[in-house]
């Protein structure tokens, strides 16, 4: 017994003051950005019924933290922000006319997944825009994702945009059955051209079709990529997908965000979840995407309401790791003033009042609670790098400046 008492479970960690303050600062910036953009913040429970995630087949059961309640029902820790929001949109918000703009900043719990850089508990900030299926909505969400990353201080940002419908359109036109299409999508997603070539031969694709297939994982640019596929592809479904991405680029150009964006039609992960554009965000010094998002028009319908939806999430933990490794300054915590006092009558009251006044001015003030004398307090202030030390005695106030 007690073997683990000094430890935290795998994939979770304590957050120390500097990190915690930095994180709160980032949260506040994002909260403000989301609110100013018209996204209302919500909190969903940390515990959901397992069915919420299981019914739409959104998440492999191995990836969910599960527990039971006293009635023998299976519960799951919050895995993502999207599915609970979809549940809300179809239940508590069912009479609210669309569009719905919602945001969240919450901890997620995942086994085996890379969403938080293989951490099992990590904080995501995200938004969902429900009830609009327009390209403008797609672009609004991508632009907000870019703004969010910039807001956290990340400047070297790359956003890759893909389109699930492009791949589906091709598979449909080439009459490839769903199960095989899934295998092909996996090969494309891994950029495994060796396996792709074999698949192409197996399904008897023509040489031009095969060329197109092999181009999917290897082309990434902007308009040039879209042009290249426009010339090769006839399926109306796939062409509509290309047109969607083209218009998204046009709009992002209006936002002034073109320099962050590229097109990668080979990005096909979580294909059954996404129904339109998909995007991911990358930066230096971190091996995992920090942003992930896309359009998922079929998720809310699992909960009984037919509602288009698009959203993204940004991993705060990964952002902080990236910022630290990129030598971007994180917030430092310092104490402005420490106040000590002698045991003469009235001194304590004076010290407490002084601290209150300083705090009212936004300064960080400590009142000594160890009964240090003036000399000890002076040493203490110097050792801890506290800028100012005040010692109250004899009704007169003794001020000393430490450091500067």
């Amino acid at each position: 017994m007690g073997n683990y008492r000094f430890h935290t479970p795998e994939g979770v960690s304590d957050m120390l003051p500097e990190d915690c303050r930095t994180k709160r600062g980032l949260e506040q910036k994002l909260r403000t950005l989301f609110a100013l953009s018209g996204y209302r913040e919500i909190e969903t429970p940390g515990i959901e019924f397992y069915d919420v995630y299981a019914s739409g087949d959104f998440v492999a059961q191995e990836n969910l933290y599960k527990l039971g309640d006293q009635e023998g029902r299976i519960l799951s820790l919050r895995y993502d922000g999207t599915v609970p929001v979809a549940r809300l949109a179809a239940t508590l918000f069912k009479d609210t006319p669309p569009p719905l703009r919602l945001s969240y900043i919450e901890n997620m719990y995942r086994f085996r997944e890379s969403g938080g850089g293989r951490q099992r508990e990590f904080c995501q900030a995200g938004v969902e825009l429900l009830g609009v299926s327009s390209t403008q909505a797609d672009a609004e969400v991508i632009a907000l994702a870019i703004s969010s990353a910039l807001e956290t201080g990340i400047t070297d940002l790359q956003i890759s945009i893909g389109q699930a419908e492009f791949f589906r359109g091709l598979m449909e036109a080439w009459e490839i059955p769903a199960e095989d299409a899934e295998e092909i999508s996996r090969h494309i997603d891994q950029k495994d051209t060796v396996a792709l070539e074999k698949s192409a031969d197996r399904y008897g694709l023509s040489s031009s079709e095969k060329e197109t297939l092999l181009l999917i994982p290897s082309l990434f640019g902007t308009y040039d990529t879209l042009d290249a596929f426009d010339k090769r592809v006839e399926s109306p479904r796939a062409r509509a997908a290309l047109q969607n991405v083209r218009e998204i680029l046009d709009i992002l150009d209006d936002y002034g965000y073109m320099k962050y964006v590229s097109v990668d039609l080979g990005m096909l992960r979580s294909l059954d979840y996404y129904t339109g554009m998909i995007f991911k965000g990358f930066t230096y010094e971190i091996g995992f995407p920090i942003i992930s998002g896309g359009r998922y028009d079929n998720v809310v319908s699992v909960f009984g309401r037919d509602l288009a939806a698009v959203g993204f999430s940004l991993s705060l933990n990964l952002c902080m790791t990236a910022l630290r490794r990129q030598d971007k300054e994180l917030l430092q915590i310092h104490v402005d003033t420490i106040i000590g006092y002698s045991d003469e009558p009235g001194m304590r009251r004076l010290a407490l009042e002084m601290a209150k006044d300083l705090r009212a001015d936004g300064l960080i003030a400590l009142v000594d609670c160890e009964g240090m004398n003036e000399e000890d307090l002076s040493c203490f202030a110097e050792n801890r790098g506290i800028e100012q030390m005040v010692f109250l005695n004899n009704g007169m106030c003794d001020c000393e400046e430490e450091g500067k």
Binding site: K191, T193, F220, G287, F288
Partner: protein, 221 residues
């Protein structure tokens, strides 16, 4: 701007062959050839940093982005199941991942119920039997000399890499089913592929070119 590229190599023959290919493709790999015990070999001028790792760890370094590129056997990739780009089949280190067992079991594998399968590759074994064959088996993880298991009654069959098949034959075993073709692959971190595209894409192209050239030369001979 050129970025520093970190390449994780699987210690041993695979590393040597990978370096040969990189050199033939025009990259200066002298740093990596140094006979030393250093684990990180860096050549700032060439913009290359090499790390020598245990094969099973190469996909991990690359998935986390500690290395941008890796060279590793397909067997390790299948076993580790990491989220990576798997971009080039280098062709060398070729062998097969197989279900092997006593010759007497040839063609009768499906007739044994509740099989025990010994392997160094529990994940590949599970995904093959449970995923492809839709069959539940008991998997016994071993760390070496897996051929022993069926001989001594620890397991009915094994899942292992087969190169020439000599060890198998000398022990009265044979290949019963082929799971996958194995060879060395170039893997790339998903973020590096985007963030360092300017350095990585030309390298991949040069490797592909060199491979094609060698193939042609091989055919000509």
């Amino acid at each position: 701007m050129t970025d520093m590229i970190t390449i994780a190599l699987s210690k041993g023959r695979l590393a040597e062959q990978a370096l040969d290919l990189l050199e033939a493709a025009g990259y200066d790999c002298r740093a990596a050839r140094e006979k030393s015990r250093r684990l990180i070999l860096e050549d700032e001028k060439a913009g290359l940093r090499f790390i020598m790792a245990k094969p099973a760890d190469v996909p991990t370094y690359v998935e986390y982005g500690a290395a941008d590129i890796g060279v590793v056997g397909k067997d390790t990739l299948l076993e580790e199941g990491r989220q990576l780009y798997e971009v080039i089949d280098l062709g060398f280190g070729a062998c097969q991942m197989c279900v092997c067992g006593p010759v007497s079991l040839k063609g009768k594998l499906d007739q044994i119920p509740n099989k025990r399968v010994a392997s160094k590759y529990p994940n590949i074994t599970r995904s093959y039997f449970e995923g492809t064959k839709r069959e539940s088996v008991e998997i016994i993880k071993l760390n070496g000399s897996v051929e022993l298991a069926p001989l001594i009654g620890l397991a009915e069959v094994i899942v292992d890499i087969v190169e020439s098949g000599r060890t198998l034959r000398e022990n009265g075993l044979d290949v019963l089913e082929v799971i996958a073709d194995i060879s060395a692959r170039v893997i790339v971190n998903r973020v590096s592929m985007k963030m360092k595209a300017q350095s990585i894409m030309p390298m991949l192209d040069a490797l592909r070119c060199q491979l094609a050239k060698q193939k042609e030369e091989g055919a000509a001979k």
